[in-house]
Every structure is written in C-alpha cells, then in structure tokens.
C-alpha cells in the first residue's frame, strides 16, 4: 500500500516566479491538507481540500492556491514567489470517515527561492 507521495523532491526558483507542487494521497484517503514548514520550525497549516473544494484555510495570502482532482490528488500553487516562501511543503491525507482523524504525511517538497 503506497503512502502519501509528493513531487518534486526539491525545487529551486527565483523571486517572482510561480511554482506547482503535487501530492497523491494514501490509498482510500479523500482529504488532503498542505502545510508549510520553515527551517527549524513546526509545520503551519495552509489549507485543506475535500471533494475538490477548499474546506479550510490557514493564515496564508491569496498567492497560495490549490486544487484537488477527482482522483483525490492535489496541487499547491504559489505565485509571485518571495524569499520567505523557502520552506519544506508537506502534504497530509486522511480518510473522511468516522475516526479518520490521523493524518498521514508525505516526505515533502523542499522549495528554495533565490
């Protein structure tokens, strides 16, 4: 059973560019959350997708947007990149059913903005 997968593993961009990160949830999971983890800090919640809609959003600007596809995979898009967007981006999936509180994390995408 494959776990949560993310691509790419590493990414280097320059300020002002746009980036798309991808996530495939664990088999049987239908809810995907994205987190930003700056170096030496805990993950911060960006947003969550369920049934192809953004269900909850953290304190992140509109430059951060996302999408969920019918197969439950998800993309995170960041426009007009800033140096401060450099971080590890984590995707987590879970099952919406009763008791599906545990979130399973992917290995993350390391984004460096120069």
């Amino acid at each position: 059973d494959a776990g949560v997968t993310q691509s790419p593993t590493h990414l280097i961009k320059t300020r002002g560019q746009q980036v798309t990160l991808r996530c495939s949830p664990k088999s049987g999971h239908d809810t995907v959350s994205w987190y930003q983890q700056a170096l030496g800090q805990g993950p911060q919640f960006i947003f969550q997708y369920y049934e192809e809609e953004e269900r909850q959003r953290g304190n992140f600007p509109d430059r951060f947007s996302g999408h969920q596809f019918p197969n439950y995979s998800s993309e995170l898009n960041v426009n007009a990149l800033l140096l401060g967007d450099s971080a590890l981006y984590l995707c987590a999936s879970r099952w919406k059913g009763a008791g599906g509180y545990e979130q399973f994390f992917g290995p993350g995408t390391r984004l460096t903005v120069l």
Partner: protein, 116 residues
C-alpha cells in the same frame, strides 16, 4: 485560536535511558486530540502516539507513553530505553476534532539526540 508550546529546543539522552519531552497547549475547547509526531532527517513525519482528550488514561505505544494533564493543559512524551533510531525532531500537535477541517496545530519542535 489554539497554541502549542514546546519549551525545550534541544534534548539529548544516552542510549537505553529515559527522556521526557514537554508540551503545553492553550485552548478553550473540550473536544480535541493531541499527538506527538517524529520527523527524522529523512523528513517523513511519523505519528508516534495520540491522546483523546476525553480519555483520562494516558496513552502508551511500546516504549512511548504520555503524561496527559488536562487541567494543566500539559502533554509530555516519555521515551523509555532510548535507541539511536529515536534521534529526530519531535513535534507536539493539537487537533480540535469538532472544527470543520480538523487542521493540526504544531509546536516549534524539540530536537532529540540519542548518544551511544
């Protein structure tokens, strides 16, 4: 809004000894879960242990156990018989399961180094 505080940026322990990591949280909610996650250098966040707030009994998973003090809003992790593979960053996390979306709120983490 909920906050999670981990006051120990770094800890070290000798192999086979016991170590306790501290976590406090602030919430006005009654229905929540608490978690400890482990993040080794490979970056993969792994769930170590969870605690439902309505349960008085402290959770235990093999060498890992928690001390959950609901009134004090404290949730510490005890690792017994520490192993070299326990070296990692440990995060305490809070989830209000009545909140739409059930996001996780993380602390800043504690780096644990197990020495041989």
């Amino acid at each position: 809004a909920q906050t999670v505080t981990q006051s120990q940026p770094e800890m070290s322990v000798q192999e086979a000894e016991t170590v306790t990591l501290s976590c406090t949280y602030d919430t006005s909610e009654n229905n929540y879960y608490l978690f400890w996650y482990k993040q080794p250098p490979s970056r993969q966040m792994i769930l170590v242990i969870r605690q439902e707030a309505y349960k008085q009994q402290n959770a235990t998973e093999n060498r890992f156990s928690v001390n959950f003090q609901k009134a004090a809003k404290s949730f510490s992790l005890k690792i017994s018989d520490s192993q070299l593979g326990d070296t990692a960053m440990y995060f305490c996390a809070f989830m209000n399961y009545m909140e739409y979306g059930n996001k996780l709120v993380f602390g800043a983490g504690t780096i644990l180094r197990v020495k041989s």
